[in-house]
């Protein structure tokens, strides 16, 4: 038996290192999450960018922003909350709760892995989007897109956290996420494209998807930084904070 004096809680760095390694392994083995988060955004990039008539309506920067936003939504609304709900149901968290690590490290590790995935997806989509549409981005554009991607990932992870905080089963999470996904995508994208008029476009600018599309467009140099982008930035920050609070406040580690 180990000397009792040596049995102490681990340092946060040791615990986080173990959690990050495990969470990264889990994510890399989850083909569905990788497909939703990386492969489908790339597919959207190519599908929406093809066709002579459509090219007139959809600006290349808008298409790239849409593809990245889709990837962020898939990761934040499906990948993260579904994994959390499933592990909560099966008792993974129940087991972790009786170890000597604070449970916030478990959340931080999972969110960090999702953020890295989001950044990788953004880099891939931006790179392929540039090639596809013959666009060249400067270093500032790359950095701005990464910054907006981080903000977008924070928004959708916060919404995902709220969903898993307010529900108790993975079935409920799945249902909520599907409805939210469709709603946010339709309102944000169609509205911010201007196809339904200026009033709807203004309203859409305040939605998570609409706000991000303005920010991505500016980050890629498609438009200047103006009031639309300020609204997008403020709205995104508010969404991240409000939904993050709701998700943490009502979250339960066990449902038994």
């Amino acid at each position: 038996m180990t000397d009792i004096a040596l049995l102490k809680p681990p340092s946060v760095s040791v615990a986080l290192r173990s959690l990050l390694r495990a969470d990264a392994t889990v994510l890399l083995r989850n083909r569905q999450a990788l497909l939703l988060s990386i492969v489908l955004p790339v597919a959207i990039l190519f599908i929406t960018g093809s066709g002579g008539g459509r090219r007139q309506v959809l600006d290349p920067g808008y298409v790239i922003g849409l593809s990245i936003t889709y990837g962020l939504m898939a990761s934040g609304l499906f990948g993260y909350p579904m994994a959390v709900a499933r592990d909560r149901e099966s008792g993974v968290f129940q087991r972790m709760r009786v170890t000597p690590v604070p449970m916030w490290t478990v959340s931080v590790s999972r969110i960090a892995v999702q953020l890295v995935l989001s950044l990788v997806m953004s880099l891939v989509v931006l790179g392929l989007g540039g090639v596809r549409h013959h666009l060249t981005f400067g270093l500032v554009n790359w950095l701005l897109v990464l910054a907006v991607s981080l903000l977008g990932a924070a928004v959708f992870l916060a919404i995902g956290q709220a969903v898993v905080g307010l529900t108790t089963t993975s079935g409920q999470v799945n249902a909520f996420s599907r409805v939210l996904f469709a709603l946010l995508l339709v309102v944000g994208l169609i509205g911010s494209s201007g196809l339904l008029g200026d009033t709807f476009k203004t309203v859409a600018g305040w939605t998570p998807v609409g706000g991000l599309s303005y920010l991505f467009n500016a980050a890629m140099g498609g438009v200047g930084w103006g009031s639309d982008q300020v609204i997008g930035l403020v709205a995104s920050l508010v969404y991240a904070v409000v939904f993050g609070y709701i998700g943490v406040r009502w979250f339960r580690w066990t449902v038994r």
Binding site: M1, I4, P10, S18, S90, V92, R95, P100
Partner: protein, 259 residues
């Protein structure tokens, strides 16, 4: 020094646990000695899980307290969890990880950096060499229980909490697990286990406590309890032939079904 050596590893004193207006544990006191296998018996809803949760520092008692190696579980939950190993009946591990990867993860959560050879050696000792590269869900019920116990013992804790460790196992797997528990005790550990199996309590436990409605009903060695309650009319009504620990349990807690 002599006092310190003989001091209980776990002390539960006047523990009261409430959920809203419902009292789950009502003034429970007991102690687990060093090197002892202690059984906590009770029907469903008797307060066993709440007592374990208080020991694990997962809830704050309404009154009384729990001390593990002298440390207050409510005030220092992380320090107490570093001193205990826990096997939960209804818990699991990440479905995408292999047994070796899970072991490495939990080693890190207990602050241990175990080399690959040490992880393999531990799996070998639990008879899980061939399953090292398998995922948790791909293993049998008995292997899952053995692995779960292995994870609980990873940091060689002085106190093991086992929640119905042999539930759902066949007799062979149950015997193997009993042997694993005995080995843990042989290496200096103390064990607090809950079980619904009176056969298990009689075979494995040095002492048992029977609790019901959150209070202590009886405490002693299995043989002492049988002896003390042999003439109790409630126990005699439950007995079919020689009085057993199960007869004592039924006699003291009643024969109505609890959910």
């Amino acid at each position: 020094m002599a006092e310190q050596v003989s001091a209980p590893i776990l002390e539960v004193e006047g523990l009261v646990v409430r959920y809203g207006t419902r009292t789950a544990v009502d003034g429970l006191s007991l102690a687990v000695r060093r090197g002892e296998i202690f059984g906590l018996l009770g029907p469903n809803g008797a307060g066993k899980t709440s007592t374990l949760s208080a020991v694990e520092g997962l809830l704050r008692p309404a009154a009384g307290g729990v001390r593990v190696v002298g440390r207050d579980a409510a005030l220092e939950p992380l320090a107490v969890r570093a001193l205990i190993g826990v096997q939960l009946q209804a818990s699991s591990f990440q479905a995408e990880l292999t047994l070796t990867e899970i072991l490495r993860l939990y080693a890190g959560l207990y602050g241990l950096e175990l080399p690959a050879g040490e992880l393999s050696a531990r799996l070998h000792r639990a008879g899980l060499d061939d399953e090292a590269g398998k995922r948790y869900k791909q293993t049998s019920g008995g292997q899952q229980q053995r692995f779960s116990l292995l994870v609980a013992m990873l940091h060689d804790p002085p106190l093991l909490l086992l929640d119905e460790p042999t539930s759902g196992l066949d007799p062979q797997a149950r015997r193997q697990l009993w042997a694993q528990i005995e080995r843990a005790r042989g290496e200096g550990g103390s064990i607090l286990l809950t079980t619904h199996s009176m056969e298990e309590a009689s075979a494995v436990c040095d002492r048992v406590a029977i609790i019901d409605h959150g209070t202590l009903v009886a405490l002693g060695t299995p043989a002492e309890l049988v002896e003390q309650h042999r003439a109790d009319p409630r126990v005699l009504r439950a007995a079919h032939g020689d009085v057993t620990l199960e007869d004592v349990f039924i006699g003291l807690t009643g024969d109505e079904i609890r959910d």
